[in-house]
Symmetry: C2
Subunit: 382 residues, 2 copies
């Protein structure tokens, strides 16, 4: 085990964790059925329900990364032959469509350009185009930084009696969610974005309509992801399904405690304020966000490179000279953008200033001097 030089995590995740979350994780292990441990499971479920904006009893942190949460939705809710409409305007929609196809589903893709918003009318038309069992929207596309207004998609799903499945990996804990009121039937996320717990858990929620679908399945559900077996452990029976990842759950409990102490209204305002501050500073540096503020995610800002700036050298400079991690572009955006995450514990004004100074320096290192002092002043003025 070597020592680690700390890196400021301003990429698309993981985000930095607080000292309290780090400490929580290193507490001595308890058994997964210990009377001191099961109340922690209960508290986590209560906290997650609040964040999803749901009363769904089946709301729990699955052992696995956020991708395991996607797989859990597909494994339980997609059967061979099911028509599933998937909104694809980024890598995470593509992955969901791929997972649906692998489960034998008929993935009907409604596409928009990377960086653009999904067209709700096209989505509704696709749903109406056949007997649609489910539809999928990525709430905050981590590959582009587009935040979708879920309302029109929810209306389209409900009018066709299709389940609405939502990927809220990047949005949860950064913007308030109200999934019961919206009519979201199932959703999944990860812990390493705006929740600021370490990666490795996938909170999921399944509503009544979704569970009725599971109960009526003809095809079996893979063992690991079976909602009925998961409920056996997370519900009052405490029946063994697997050995829960104790220390990760300690960390998640601590992160949820911090979230509750701050309150979701204040937390969303904090994310929006640092995002606005970042945009002001970027403008002075001559750096243009990919997505207009009207439909951009506050927790993740995708920034176009000016012509002639090399992605690898730019991000390498940030990492080596400034010890800052930002994300690169994915798919058609590779080499054309970088992605700045100001998420959870990382969404702090001081991090905006440190990032802007580093961006200016990285531009200068490629022969493009920028007004760093002006950028910092503009950011501070928000």
């Amino acid at each position: 085990m070597r020592s680690i030089d700390e890196v400021l995590l301003l990429g698309p995740g993981p985000s930095p964790t607080s000292a309290a979350v780090q400490r929580a994780q290193s507490r001595p292990l308890l058994g997964h059925l210990d009377p001191q441990f099961t109340p922690i499971l209960d508290r986590i479920q209560v906290g997650l329900r609040r964040l999803f904006g749901t009363n769904n009893p089946l709301t729990l942190p699955l052992a696995g990364t956020g991708t395991a949460g996607m797989e859990a939705l597909v494994a339980n809710l997609v059967e061979p032959g099911d028509r599933v409409v998937v909104g694809v305007h980024g890598v995470f929609g593509q992955r969901f469509a791929e997972a649906v196809r692998r489960a034998g589903g008929d993935a009907v893709v409604v596409a928009a350009e990377f960086g653009a918003s999904l067209d709700p009318d096209a989505f509704a038309a696709a749903i109406a185009g056949g007997p649609t069992r489910a539809c999928v929207v990525v709430h905050a596309e981590t590959s582009t930084g587009v935040l979708s207004d879920l309302r029109p998609f929810a209306a389209a799903a409900r009018s066709a009696d299709a389940l609405l499945l939502v990927d809220c990996v990047t949005s949860i804990g950064g913007v308030a969610l109200d999934f019961d009121a919206l009519g979201v039937d199932a959703a999944f996320c990860g812990t390493q974005k705006c929740l600021s717990a370490p990666p490795g858990l996938a909170p999921v929620t399944f509503g009544e309509r979704a569970l009725a679908r599971v109960a009526a399945r003809r095809a079996p559900v893979p063992f690991y992801f079976d909602t009925r077996l998961l409920t056996g452990y997370f519900g009052p029976d405490r029946a063994y399904h697997y050995t829960a990842p104790i220390s990760m759950l300690y960390a998640l409990e601590a992160a949820l405690d911090e979230l509750e102490a701050e309150g979701m209204v204040a937390r969303e305002a904090r994310h929006r304020a640092v995002a606005a501050s970042l945009r002001q500073g970027l403008e002075v540096l001559g750096l243009k966000p990919l997505v207009p503020v009207s439909h951009a995610t506050p927790m993740l800002t995708t920034v176009r490179y000016p012509d002639g700036i090399d992605d690898k050298a730019f991000r390498g400079h940030l990492r080596q000279a400034h010890r800052i991690e930002v994300g690169g572009g994915l798919g058609p955006l590779a080499g054309k953008v970088f992605r700045v995450g100001l998420m959870g514990h990382g969404a702090q004004p001081a991090n905006v200033l440190r990032a802007l100074a580093a961006f200016g320096d990285a531009l200068a290192a490629q022969g493009r001097p920028a007004d760093v002092a002006g950028a910092l002043a503009a950011a501070r003025a928000v």
Copy 2:
């Protein structure tokens, strides 16, 4: 977050982690592609290969519990209609058979009583009874404490050209494994037994024959468990598959460091010595192991209750009065046995003495006084 009263974990897992492992886990997060982090992945893979006794390039810690490792083997290696012979003499064989059936496989069960060993001749006959694609052996049955000699099963599998899949969740890190020499085609384990890292990771290994089977599949593999996508991240490409559980991997690296410093020969001897010491003490207390020493797991000893001793009260006394966790019986053994794990960091002589004293006290609490002093002396004499 409430404070936790430490409990001595002497059940079937999780086992106690060392202070170094706990500290490792609380280090600041790095990005999953950070140049400081990817060498940690490489070191973990080298360490796991050594423990499995394999040169398989595809040897990696999957994000999920041990059960996710089982699911990964099934998801990649079982196709609808495949005939799979599963040795079942405990709960973990039952679960594997169930996972095979859910994947559409034809699970042919070779059963033995809980607590007995599998009959290699019956196993070979089952393999010969049809075109068998794969067969499954649980190396150390955590529900009973039986350790299987894998050699006859490996020979039977090889003679029929069936893949040999092994569950080594409880054995790895407690007894030396030599899976390449044996001819094991794929195996999985967990981190929370004799590796003494927290639960939440599933080390898996897939050999050449297994990967050829994956390449020849007709049915797609679920996204999360796809060995080809996993190889993309864990191999030299470092292609994004999911955000790796950074802090858990820190802990696993530290646990593997401790394992390497001790050496597997010394570690196996330590497990065998404390198990022998426990058995000597149990005998003086009048407590009989379920499994004869000749085919018992050294890391987990299943103990029969004397007539009239109540399981719930016995284990409750250990937990409340002595802050010791042991496991209860599963399936047909529920209420009839308790399970004592002396695993990894927990396999220490002092823990044997503390456990024996507590067992004697728990018997006395139910009106069955026992010779605790004699038990301790007998245990120390080993």
